[in-house]
Subunit: 259 residues, 2 copies
Amino acid sequence: LRERGLADRVIGIGRRPTSLRAARRAGAVTSTTVDLAKGVAEAALVVVCSPVGCIVDHVRRAAEHCRPSTLITDAGSTKQAIVRAVDGSLSRGCRFLGSHPLAGSEKTGPANARADLFEDRVVILTPTRNTSTEDFHLLERFWTRLGSSIVRMSPEDHDRALAVTSHLPHAVAVALSACLPEDYFRLTGTGFLDTSRVAAGDPELWKQIFLQNRENSLSAIDRFEEHLDALRRALSDGDAEALENLLTTAKNNRDALGN
Amino acid sequence: LRERGLADRVIGIGRRPTSLRAARRAGAVTSTTVDLAKGVAEAALVVVCSPVGCIVDHVRRAAEHCRPSTLITDAGSTKQAIVRAVDGSLSRGCRFLGSHPLAGSEKTGPANARADLFEDRVVILTPTRNTSTEDFHLLERFWTRLGSSIVRMSPEDHDRALAVTSHLPHAVAVALSACLPEDYFRLTGTGFLDTSRVAAGDPELWKQIFLQNRENSLSAIDRFEEHLDALRRALSDGDAEALENLLTTAKNNRDALGN
């Protein structure tokens, strides 16, 4: 926002003064506070970036202290439980419209802040029938001016899709990383490193994401296991053709995704 | 070799004149030929870099045409089948000592050549009781002068370990990539991209690797599935503690591996 000159004031609200200081030093915010009520008091837009398990509470508290009729959004990796809890029920005419920017990495904290984080990324917006066109367009402009393109989905469709595109790869990376015996650590190459990278993400954050998207995550794991079993069977049968077909399907999909 | 001034002549042998031309243009080789017999005729060391399914044949043919008593090595991702086929049985006093540099990526061909490919990497050497100390030291010097460090393993131990550290992540990335429906392609972020990256590798190459290391790969997949099932069970039971323990084990392992 600051680098693109889209906001005169960016107020960072957090619990830890050290993190807030780091955010100021990184130039990510113009002022900071540990007091949520004070922080949101004059905001034109509130963006809640807490772990998914805290978002509902933080949205509600923000609504109680910001200017009447303020739009509140988030950056959470799950949407259904959050939207269901706060959609159309916030105090003082405030509204919530869910955002999920598909950006970021396994790294956390202001030390890893990047001004180009949202460039060429997708941001999913999850409006409901309570969402006004005006609010949708406001958030659409907000994210597109940061360099992202918008995909519009229902909270239910979002959680079903992200279970496959985000929560599943995390589950897979976690199982892969957890199954590595220590005496093999030195024998890993770029293949293992890439495939397991996201497992370095914050366990607390990811625990909340999985628990909030439990059913969809389980279905996604089932879906994955069917494909791994097909590969296992081809290998077990020594079926070179079936094996090559699977490897080729995977390559075609992966090539289509780009870098 | 050329950048570090370790060899006056590097002879590239291949099937496709276009690839050989590209290798010359990249500065990777000083001369090229499509004729294996001519190419190896004056070599002090022969490095066979074919797909694993062709290595045995190429090693045998090289032994028939190079100077008597020449040392031959390879860069194959499997070792047991290859070493068993050529160890101590090459013509004209030639010897084979297996190498596996844990370097490279999903990209192939001379267009992706990098002079620093082996810097800070591990190269596994797989000597047998037929291997002379002299030959071992020759290859040890060869790879360490290219910037790698050496790990010595039996061909059997190599294949068991690499099934977990390399062939398993490939299988996992393939199943993940193959299970992605096309309408979700645009909803993938860095997590999916990292976790599935190696699935872009050459299907023909990987088919041969899996078939050559079938039993170990199956055991590695079983090992992985046990851990994925544990995660699935924790999630299905809503067992937050078990889930967090698994996520933490995975993070600790992954953090220990570095970038």
